[in-house]
Amino acid sequence: MKAKTATKILLTMMFSFAMLFLFVGDVSAKEAKTSTYVLDAKSGVGYQTAFRATANDRFNSTTILLPTNDCTVSVKATGGVVAKVTYTSQMIGENTFTSNSNITDKEGKEIPFKGAASISVFSTKDGTYDLNVTVKRGKKQLTKKKIKVIFGYTTMIEKMSYAGKQILFSNLVTSKGSGKFSVKVGKDFALKKIEYGGYDANGEVQYKTTKNNKKITLSGQKNFSKIDYSYGFDDPDSNYGYESGQDVTYIYPVTFVRITVLDKKLGVVETSVIELFKK
């Protein structure tokens, strides 16, 4: 049980930081790309055209998605960057997987793949480098791709404030029921959209759009009731029904501010969510 508490604290810490960089895939999907993954229609290979990485960090990687289970992937990097295929998977028989990488067909359905290869990269220096990736099927070259890797620290959101008070991390407890919300994004980013809203009586967040440096009013909704799971309960013909849910009462009601920015170097949009609590 100790580990559980430790996890909770770590989670709390991670959450405060990570919320600033949290990536939500489905926002503004029609307006802008949310992922740099693309499909090379000719070879059937899925890959990331570009990605960001951190220097001196062991956790940078990108994944190549493969159309058959007999593909091999090799990589060479420019600028002294270490690049290596550290993981491969091959689906057996008729098995396939979908990649969660936003590679979809015209109907928006995820394209199934039969194999994958993860490339880990490491650099001690910041800078933009290329990964030259070769995909072979047997002895035959299927395709060759250039993947851009950008090493360097970037801040998506540089500064935020509500009612004159700076928001550190990703939340603020305030006694001001309304005030100006301002955000300043980092130099690689462009502000696309600001939305805000609180819960409705069913526990769903209702967002409305606002503009930078405009006055917003915080939600006062302290209570909601939410059904988490329901089966056959409202069906009078069903002999059996089960439902679970929760009644929620907040200490201080929450208002979410969802900020959508464009990563100008990658050409993708990302969102982060801020929590404001009305004292």
């Binding site: 508490t5 770590l10 295929v85 993981y87 491969t88 059996y240 089960y242």
Partner: protein, 283 residues
């Protein structure tokens, strides 16, 4: 040990940094989850939070505890804080409802007309969440009651809520090849060296174990002596097969796990801290 991530959805640097910190796992001093079997109630009897912080998942508080009761019809209530500077409040009441036909009852009415078996709905209370918000730094006591179906009180329980995060630091230092393990960068180039551990006052070193991956990638631990010379893992290559897929791993940063087991003199509890030592394998 599944270490390959199939898809890296995005670059969450800070999360990665947090993972790097987690490589050195320091256990916070926290109370165990308390199970009172006599009264049928379980909860955390100590919580820590930051002053003036609130989170959505803590329902507008800085942290929370989930209380569970096992006696039928019992509920949680009368939550009281020892100070107005700490708000303690029930923020979530979970429930489950079930609907079943009662086949033990008669499907006929008093005129012997078939009306079908009656449907019985049962509501069962689930866990109750108590959230806390600290207006000022301090140590506070929060009490709550377990209330029986008839409204009488089954028992009173206490939770200590503090704004001071306190951590045990059992291990004074761990050196590898003469250098503190923190002082190495993202990986170590010296593949063999002496490992030495020094404990802090109040803790006794029990044993040191070295973990290396076997041919299937699972880590196998072996006891070593303090100040022993060890060899680091320089290669971690393995495959895993199931009926629907084959996976191959070849780590760029093969890791050696050093587990330091110790006893806290005060309460004789044993735990361990893991130190991960990384090398680089470019092939």
């Amino acid at each position: 040990m599944m270490r390959g991530n199939m898809i890296k959805k995005t670059w969450i640097k800070t999360a990665a940094a947090a993972v790097a910190c987690a490589a050195l796992w320091i256990m916070p001093v926290q109370a165990e989850y308390v199970h009172d079997d006599v009264n049928g109630v379980s909860y955390n009897d100590r919580e820590t939070l930051s002053v003036d912080y609130a989170y959505d998942y803590a329902r507008g508080g800085g942290t929370w505890t989930d209380v569970r009761v096992s006696n039928d019809g019992d509920t949680i209530g009368n939550v009281q804080s020892s100070s107005p500077n700490l708000i303690a409040q029930i923020t979530e009441k979970h429930y489950s409802k079930s609907k079943e036909k009662d086949y033990s009852a008669s499907p006929y009415d008093e005129n012997q007309k078939y009306i079908g078996y009656p449907v019985v709905t049962k509501i069962k209370p689930g866990e109750t969440r108590i959230s806390f918000f600290a207006k000022k730094a301090g140590t506070y006591k929060v009490s709550f009651d377990v209330i029986k179906k008839d409204g009488s009180i089954r028992c009173k329980k206490y939770i200590t809520v503090t704004t001071n995060y306190t951590y045990d630091t059992p291990i004074k230092e761990v050196r590898y090849a003469g250098k503190l393990v923190y002082d190495y960068g993202p990986y170590i180039t010296k593949t063999s060296g002496k490992i030495s551990v020094k404990m802090n006052k109040g803790f006794k070193l029990v044993r040191i174990e070295i973990g290396k991956p076997d041919s299937t990638g699972s880590y196998v631990y072996k006891k070593i002596k303090n100040n022993a010379k060890i060899k680091l893992v320089t290669k971690n290559v393995y495959t895993q097969s199931s009926s629907d897929m084959k996976q191959s791993y070849n780590a760029l940063f093969p890791e050696t796990a050093i587990r330091v087991y110790y006893i806290k003199n005060k309460d004789k509890t044993e735990s361990y801290t893991t130190y991960d030592l990384y090398t680089i394998n470019k092939k």
